[in-house]
């Protein structure tokens, strides 16, 4: 019988610092063939383990089809701290991928409204919330189709906290409208200042929009209000939930929200699906 708790050894091959506390780790699986067959959908997650430090969920964020796996991880606790101390060549374990990611083309729920009309995409993210969307952004044409417009509203604490900031120019070249804001005024910053919601007041959102949200729960509350004002329907809003996870398999109950498991049925849910669950956001 397969052991779902068994993880595949993977080696760190590259480390790129992103902010003071966040690094982008690139892994290659020790079992090369297994690694080449490993694939994930944007928005899914994996469980990373280090013997002695346990396991934790992270969202892969590399370009689809790469021969490696990239995880962008904040140093915040036991496991993540240990990982941040590791060097190229060190090994971790990875199992997964788990859950359901963002609705994309060639999945059951295409990005279309009831009339079959294609929808443009507004991505609203805060802090680390950008991570599980990077794969989608990098593979925009593949996952969404060439003629879909993509607009990103991204809020971070400061310019130095912005993840993947050296890639924005490329994203823009690829036709993506990237709008940024920082929480507080700071030197050398000429852009927008304020929470991510202020971007809604400054810029019109892309027309005929579907929205993908990822960020801290407080952000959801305010962004949902803005989206309602802009008449984006609840069916057209998708959000990725964060919950404590232990198994990733829909068994341990830690991640349950109402009748769903964040690990198995999520982490991405349509707002329509979960809006009536008390305490969901």
């Amino acid at each position: 019988m397969n052991n779902p708790y068994l993880s595949e050894p993977a080696k760190i091959v590259k480390i790129t610092p992103q902010t003071d506390t966040v690094k982008l780790f690139r892994f290659e699986f020790v079992q090369k063939v297994w690694g080449y067959n490993f694939s994930f959908a944007p928005g899914q997650f994996i469980e990373l383990s280090i013997p002695g430090c346990g396991e934790a969920p992270f969202a892969p964020c590399n370009a689809a089809g790469a021969k490696y796996l990239e995880l962008c991880i904040r140093d915040i606790g036991r496991l993540t701290h240990k990982l941040h101390e590791m060097k190229v060549g060190d090994k971790v374990g990875i199992r997964g991928p788990y859950g359901n990611g963002w609705p994309i083309i060639n999945q059951k729920s295409k990005i279309k409204n009831q009339n079959g009309e294609k929808k443009n995409l507004l991505i609203v993210v805060g802090g680390l919330g950008l991570i599980p969307l990077r794969t989608l952004i990098l593979g925009k044409d593949k996952f969404l189709g060439k003629d879909i417009k993509v607009q990103i509203f991204y809020g971070a604490r400061s310019p130095q906290e912005m993840l993947f900031r050296y890639e924005y120019a490329k994203w823009r070249e690829n036709g993506i409208d990237v709008k940024l804001t920082i929480d507080k005024e700071c030197a050398n910053w000429v852009g927008c200042v304020g929470l991510v919601t202020t971007l809604f007041d400054k810029f019109p959102i892309v027309e005929n929009a579907q929205a993908f949200l990822c960020g801290p729960p407080v952000m959801y509350k305010f962004v949902l209000e803005k989206l309602k004002q802009k008449e984006v329907t609840d069916q057209d809003i998708y959000l990725s939930l964060e919950r404590r996870m232990h198994c990733g398999l829909g068994v341990c109950q830690h991640c349950a929200v109402g009748p769903y498991y964040t690990c198995k049925d999520g982490p991405v849910f349509s707002y329509e699906q979960i809006k009536n669950i008390p305490g969901v956001i």
Binding site: M1, Y5, G77, K91, H246, G258, P259, G279
Partner: protein, 359 residues
């Protein structure tokens, strides 16, 4: 099968290297204080106080086995889902799986606890640790049904429920038992059970083919009602009120046969860079259950998703009476009322269910 033969059967199993466990009567004066808190014993009904408690213990002598309508204080849960179990042992970076080897025979599993095993079998269907342990367990069920005060759903023994219960061998009381002269009708429920009975030399049994945990036909009405109330007619008042009473001790989860949630943690061993990844019981009443890392809240607490006692106790009920029915089509409670017996503040599930139904 009569009492004398049953005793021979127990000895036969012992000789065949089964570790045997079953309900026994522990006189109150010999009860370990650590096992049962004085508080709990003080809350036992009078009759039990006089006689002691029924606990599941290793059976050394066949006469120790008690097969009557008294419900064991704790369930058989930990034989299926241990309090803590090692998933892997690790040394440096290599993980080694670790599986259970010991053969265990559980004698006299009452109807309610048998129903709980149906749940474990579903929940851990794809779990290799559970399956390895399960293969080493012999389940000998008995038709004993707890007295009605401890049997919320008024479960009765009828022969037609046998095909929905997960046993290897089943002893059904044929007549009103007297203390020393019980007579049992014997059933087998698996090839394992058949083999053991045959090898023991007992032929007077009937085989029952397991046909899944649920009776065919309409789904259970009470299950439907409770699920509908919880999912569609959320009544915050019930939970707020319970939230003011519950002290989050987690005793109900420990004693409940259908509570199975767990956490997975690494524990270092004595040798350098060695240790074990362990899966152990958790409780949704504990603060840490839903905690995530991140900046603490204004009150200095770690961020969590079950923030109040009311939310936590609601989570507990929602799992048993909405999520489990959604997943498996049966109710996640066997009605044993153990949770009510151990609750230090007197929260009684029977009352709570009435309130939910009335909401």
């Amino acid at each position: 099968m009569n009492q004398a033969l049953l005793e021979k059967f127990v000895i036969y199993l012992q000789k065949a290297n089964w570790l045997i466990f079953g309900p026994t009567l522990i006189p109150l004066d010999s009860l370990d204080e650590e096992e049962i808190s004085p508080y709990l014993t003080a809350h036992q009904p009078q009759t039990k106080k006089d006689n002691g408690l029924i606990l599941i213990k290793q059976i050394e002598k066949p006469t120790e086995l008690v097969l009557d309508d008294r419900l064991p204080f704790y369930s058989f849960k930990h034989f299926f889902i241990p309090e803590g179990e090692t998933l892997f042992k690790y040394k440096n970076n290599s993980l080694k799986e670790s599986f259970e080897e010991q053969k265990v025979a559980l004698l006299g599993v009452n109807l309610l606890d048998l129903k709980a095993i149906n749940l474990y079998d579903q929940v851990f269907e794809k779990d290799p640790y559970y399956q390895a342990r399960r293969r080493k367990i012999l389940i000998v069920g008995s038709s004993s049904v707890p007295e009605i005060s401890n049997n919320i759903f008024a479960q009765k023994y009828e022969e037609d429920i046998l095909e929905h219960l997960p046993f290897d061998i089943f002893f059904a009381n044929d007549q009103q038992p007297t203390i020393n002269n019980q007579h049992f009708k014997v059933f087998s429920g698996s090839i394992k059970g058949q083999r053991i009975l045959e090898h023991f030399g007992y032929k007077d049994y009937q085989h029952i083919q397991f046909s899944g945990p649920i009776k065919e036909g309409k789904p259970d009405e009470q299950m439907e009602r409770l699920r509908d109330k919880l999912k569609n007619k959320h009544n915050q008042k019930i939970w707020d009120e319970l939230g003011t009473r519950c002290i989050e001790c987690g005793k109900c989860t420990l004693s409940c046969p259908t509570c199975f949630c767990f956490r997975v943690d690494d524990y270092p061993g004595l040798e350098k860079n060695s240790g074990a990844r362990v899966r152990c019981w958790d409780s949704c009443f504990y603060q840490e259950f839903s905690e995530v890392s991140g900046p603490s809240t204004s009150s200095g607490q770690a961020p969590k998703f079950l923030k109040t006692t009311a939310e936590r106790i609601h989570f507990w009920y929602f799992h048993k009476f909405a999520r489990i029915p959604d997943e498996f089509n049966f109710i996640g409670c066997v009605g044993c009322r153990r949770c009510a017996k151990v609750c230090p503040v007197g929260i009684d599930i029977k009352e709570v269910l009435k309130e939910i139904e009335a909401s």
